[in-house]
């Protein structure tokens, strides 16, 4: 931190530039593509559809499933190979549990709702970007939800709390704390923390994240509106 500016020139309350395009995949019920800083993530939603394997299904509600995957070329050094590993299983689980709180799954007994998240390029905060994109994909699929959720991380750099850490700030900062909010109620749906924070720092971090999540929601709503305001002939053509 130099003169209150961070490594990429941002202030502590600044979120990296974010762009979301909804409805990019033809065969998914709902989909979204997000570019958040240098993160590039694609999210697709399928379902409600018949739950397979049968022993997973519930007579009372739809089962939410999530698969988070990093592409082998996504950038982080240790991801020479793709496929499930400890990290991606953890992230699939936390993303799934965040959405289990908002999806009204009682409407669709015996089915599953699958969320697929592919990280094409990573630069810190992929789980937050994944949650943000998946929420847009679910809304695009028309799956009833109690809220359009968003997530953002906060970190501690040089003793100061800052929002939305990039890869360097995440790796070399003192602490990193991804949080997902339900903006309607202010409920916390995902909360993880690396490193240590004092009570005051935690409160400041939550405040920063809450402010940032309002901005994130704006971008999400804009993406959904755009689907209907400017319908595209071919969903897959992002360019042009």
């Amino acid at each position: 931190m130099v003169n209150g500016k961070r490594i990429d020139g941002r202030g502590v309350e600044d979120v990296r530039p974010m762009k979301i395009v909804a409805r990019v995949l033809n065969d998914a019920e709902g989909s979204a593509y997000i570019e958040w800083g240098k993160n590039k993530i694609l999210a697709g939603v399928y379902g409600p559809r018949e739950c397979i394997p049968r022993h997973d299904q519930s007579l009372y509600r739809a089962v939410v499933k999530c698969r988070y995957n990093m592409a082998p070329f996504s950038g982080a050094e240790e991801h020479g190979r793709s496929g499930p590993n400890r990290r991606s299983k953890e992230l699939s689980k936390v993303i799934k549990e965040a959405f289990e709180n908002v999806i009204i799954s009682e409407n669709f007994p015996k089915t599953e709702i699958s969320i697929f998240v592919e990280v094409l390029q990573s630069d810190g905060g992929t789980r937050c970007a994944a949650v943000t994109a998946a929420a847009v994909a679910l809304a695009d699929a028309g799956i009833p939800m109690k809220d359009l959720i968003g997530a953002v991380a906060v970190c501690k750099i040089d003793g100061q709390m800052a929002v939305d850490p990039g890869k360097e700030e995440d790796n070399f900062g003192e602490s990193d704390m991804p949080i997902a909010f339900s903006p309607r109620t202010g409920e916390v749906l995902l909360f993880q923390m690396d490193g240590n924070l004092s009570r005051e720092e935690l409160a400041r971090g939550l405040e920063l994240a809450r402010n940032a999540s309002a901005k994130i929601r704006e971008v999400q709503m804009e993406a959904i509106r755009k689907v209907y305001d400017e319908p595209k002939e071919d969903r897959f053509l992002l360019i042009g």
């Binding site: 018949e50 007994p109 015996k110 089915t111 028309g142 939800m145 109690k146 359009l148 109620t185 319908p231």
Partner: protein, 195 residues
């Protein structure tokens, strides 16, 4: 938008829910005059819906029917006089559903050879139009019979220009949320017919 307030009183509105005395939307939709119309969404079967289905399994006592939803429907042989084979398209009425979403069909009729267009179930009312206006218009301009099932399957019976009919259906699906759609579809059908 999901989580957006549609009313500050507790109200029973479909596709909305009540929390702490206020009513919120659960879907991306258009809200007007106390009604919330979703723009996208899966098919939720209701009794008396007329649907188009594809026979997916022939069983001893009846047929399993694919309904464009997570739930297969059952059509008992007792209800019908015809016999079907796997892959046949049928037009039928839902006689019974329950909370586990098992669907029973009745009043089934086999559909003649045609093509299936899968659209979002919430857009079917637009494809049918007010008093069948949209379907009638496509029929008049393309010579194709159109059967639109509530479940989002549209069956185009190809005696005429079924390519054009399919394009028109897709156009309605893409622009279902806009005003003045009937006129635009009419213009589109007319201009394509000349070409």
């Amino acid at each position: 938008m999901p989580g957006e307030m549609v009313s500050d009183k507790p109200e029973r509105i479909s596709y909305a829910f009540v929390d702490k005395g206020k009513t919120y939307s659960t879907v991306v939709g258009l809200f007007s005059e106390g009604k919330l119309v979703p723009l996208e969404g899966p098919y939720e079967p209701l009794p008396d819906d007329l649907i188009v289905g594809i026979v997916s399994e022939v069983r001893f006592s009846g047929y399993s029917v694919d309904t464009n939803s997570a739930y297969a429907a059952f059509l008992s042989s007792r209800e019908i006089r015809e016999r079907y084979e796997m892959g046949d398209a049928i037009f039928a009425r839902i006689t019974k559903t329950d909370e586990t979403r098992s669907i029973e069909l009745g009043d089934a009729k086999k559909l003649p050879e045609g093509r299936l267009v899968r659209v979002s179930a919430v857009k079917i009312p637009r494809i049918i139009g007010k008093k069948n206006s949209m379907v009638d218009m496509i029929r008049a301009n393309t010579g194709c019979e159109i059967v639109a099932g509530r479940n989002g399957y549209v069956w185009i019976i190809g005696k005429g220009d079924s390519n054009l009919a399919e394009k028109a259906v897709r156009m309605i699906e893409a622009q279902a949320h806009t005003h003045g759609l009937t006129d635009r579809v009419a213009a589109y059908l007319k201009s394509s017919k000349k070409a």
